[in-house]
Symmetry: C2
Subunit: 493 residues, 2 copies
């Protein structure tokens, strides 16, 4: 065997072990007995130890040295790009620093949960400062000898090829139009919401119907319940979770569609890439583009609401709105709120932009942790028009920073920007889209996304992939145009 | 750290990874999407590769060489006994042979399933001969330089300390009295069975009630459905499965009690032994003794039937028998049948004895595979009094030999013998047992078993453990006396 084949065979086992580790995570959030947490912690740590040893295995360096990428075909070259990137990352970070980060973020996650419950940022501040110090050190190691800043280097873990400067430019163009739109919408009367009784078993049955309607393959997946919905796994075993709220059936429906977007991306990757570095979604941003376009541009469209309204009337009887138009408005209501994960399409990105701007300053050192709460509250009021009422509704609401995720937040909004650009191209290429969606037929939309985005897995770099799919580079304009047109029409502003 | 501490820390990670591998097996049999089989095969193989590398890690040999067992306390010495035994086994078998066995048994399992479906032993014979040849080679490597025969050496994997000569002696004393008892019982009228409708959801609810009544801790376990019931996991995460048959509620009830016996053994091991070699059941025989004493000596006792009869009447209404006595007889009916796994308490061991005698001859080479079917059929007719009607009811009924399990079958009957001896001691030590069981209170029985057997995990060798619990060495007499008295009374023979 050649060095390339040896390396791929080794990598295939690593990918298989990563799937195992991911499935342990699924198990923990869905079916694990509540008394098994301590033992599970040791099991997860042992798996992480195995994976870390493989990522830093000296044989990988030897194989890499023996491979001439220029002699490889497109697919093999793409495999090598992923493997070299992961190997470079693994060997740049000293084992001591990795272990210290694992230890401190584990403590910090607990401290964050306590601080949030107590609504007291100062309880969290000291250990957050420690997390940031370690991530700064890691970022410096990752950036050394490259053109990246430490924060740029962190972004590469989630969105290869993106940089803070690129994102600043993109998000800078989003912010003023989003602020202006939310001001207009919140000045207009709020559409009527649903009312009625929403049997939980019926919500789950509806979820499954809709998941299938979006092409989710239950022979290679399953739907369970979890406190925080997620999707997990690649290839032949891609599972999603959802949740139910007896008062609000949209929570279940749109959580399901969002996770189905993630899951269909994984399920639709070309089977030749199974258990290889190309066999998973290429970046967080592209992943989020799929979940968001399923959830919002398709799932919250006027046409799909025609179908969903009928489905919900059939299952729940009187739901308090008496036309598909009124239902569409209820689906797309914009509320005053504080919480990112519960935000509507318009305000969601404003939440993300706060975090992106603040975390850059935390990592560069321009913003001391002691000043974070005040900086958050000032920025929130500037963009949203009202003050934060308590830290759990402010800078303590997200788990991300406690577990060391810096450079991750911007991929949420990047995903929305990608979704906007893909939606523009989809409307151009599939003229019968609305007519299909009114019948609950998503095949035109999901077929186009499978063909142009999903099947490729990690074959192209993220922006290259979206550019190929759209026929032009992604930009913020289609998303903004779509939001202004859609919500302007619903709210008559 | 000392070599002992280093070794235990390494071993703890290995135990954690073994739990992960076991949980993948649970997942596969309960919740895995049906289209995930190929990928799952690679995931399991990758985990097996990790575990194999750890078992044969050269550092283990170095640590072992640096430890003076004589200087250790009882618990540490017991840990070392398990670790040295596993290391000796792993290093005796050449990697080439392990890989070949894995490859051939995987094929053989498929060939066995096809041959059984086609009821054609000759389709299975050639690959079974290959499995036997490889196991003979492995047995010879395991026995080299010891007093063991190759078959004895195989037994050590499942029942450390047992030998073929010991088992021959024990089983030789069982056979004539069992044959004679089954003849008498099958000559008498068969008690009336249940009739009625047995709602599957109610069966599962009853299962859970009974599992809790036997002390199964659902905070560290869960009950799911599977085609073939099993229990899996150790420590804080011990799961069981059961199955339902709308015609026969006893299938669900007694499968559950059997698996609860296995699971309670694992759950009740002293928490100090968590994720160490002492933290799991000590042998297959002792494990089966716990499942069998829960299922039979306790679960099928006249006293427990008083409770169970009330439970079933409450849940299912008229069940076709009108007294606890009649219910007890229905629970303990003896039928003509061919299948080991469906056999009653009396005939079960006769099924096992056939396999024990034939597999010894297969491994010694005295019985050519080509003659197996005929040898099976002759022996079956001699012990059961009627001929085998087809291979799927005869020598093709069990999967064990196809996957290379030789030396495993006798542990089923050894477990029953242990259960008989433990039951005798339990009756001696817990005089209020029947009075408790009539109320569905198993605490006297399960408390005694936890105290005398289960909590010790792997601390003692199997026979030593049973001898300590009973105050004398185990023998076949208590089991035979119990069976003759119980079934003699039910059948009036």
């Amino acid at each position: 065997m050649s060095a390339y084949q040896d390396l791929l065979a080794f990598q295939r086992e690593t990918e298989a072990l990563q799937q195992v580790s991911g499935r342990l995570g699924w198990d923990q959030e869905t079916v694990m007995p509540r008394g098994a947490a301590a033992q599970r912690g040791e099991e997860m740590a042992a798996m992480e130890g195995v994976l870390h040893a493989r990522r830093t295995d000296p044989r990988v360096g030897d194989w890499l040295a023996g491979i001439d990428d220029a002699a490889l075909d497109t697919v093999a070259a793409a495999q090598m790009r992923h493997i070299r990137r992961a190997h470079d990352r693994a060997t740049r970070v000293p084992a001591r620093l990795s272990a210290e980060l694992a230890r401190v973020t584990s403590l910090a996650q607990g401290a964050w949960a306590e601080a949030r419950a107590a609504d007291d940022f100062q309880r969290f501040a000291p250990i957050l400062a420690e997390v940031i110090r370690l991530r700064q050190e890691e970022g410096a190691a990752l950036a050394e000898g490259t053109d990246y800043t430490p924060y740029d280097a962190m972004i590469q873990d989630y969105e290869p090829g993106a940089s803070a400067a690129f994102l600043e430019n993109l998000f800078g163009a989003l912010r003023p139009r989003l602020v202006s739109l939310r001001e207009k919408l919140l000045g207009a009367p709020t559409p009527k919401g649903l009312s009625g009784t929403f049997d939980v078993a019926q919500q789950l049955a509806l979820s499954e119907t809709i998941a299938k309607a979006f092409g989710y393959d239950l022979a290679r997946g399953r739907i369970d319940r979890a406190v925080h919905p997620f999707s997990s796994g690649s290839g032949q075993d891609v599972r999603i979770t959802t949740r139910t709220d007896a008062e609000n059936p949209f929570d279940c429906v749109y959580s399901t569609i969002h996770e189905v977007g993630h899951a269909c991306y994984e399920q639709n990757i070309h089977s030749d890439f199974l258990l290889t570095p190309l066999g998973a979604g290429v970046s967080m941003g592209v992943h989020e583009s799929q979940s968001r376009i399923y959830e919002n541009q398709i799932g919250r469209s006027r046409a799909f609401c025609e179908y969903l309204y009928r489905q919900m009337r059939d299952r729940f009887g009187d739901i308090g709105v008496d036309s598909a138009d009124a239902f569409y408005a209820a689906v797309n209501t914009v509320h005053r709120d504080y919480i990112r994960t519960e935000a509507d399409e318009v305000q969601y990105n404003l939440h993300v932009l706060i975090r992106f701007d603040l975390e850059r300053q935390l990592i560069s050192g321009d913003l001391p942790v002691a000043d974070l709460e005040q900086a958050w509250n000032e920025r929130f009021e500037a963009d949203f028009g009202y003050p934060v009422n308590k830290p759990s509704n402010g800078c303590l609401q997200d788990v991300h920073w406690s577990v060391g995720l810096f450079g991750y937040f911007p991929t949420y909004t990047l995903g929305n920007v990608y979704a906007g650009s893909l939606h523009e191209a989809l409307l151009r290429d599939v003229p019968q889209l609305d007519e299909q969606l009114m019948r609950g037929d998503t095949s035109g939309a999901t077929g186009w996304l499978r063909e142009n985005v999903q099947q490729h897995g990690g074959l192209y770099e993220p922006r290259e992939l979206i550019t190929l799919a759209c026929g032009k580079a992604p930009s913020e304009a289609p998303l903004l145009d779509y939001l202004e047109a859609k919500f302007g029409a619903i709210y008559g502003v």
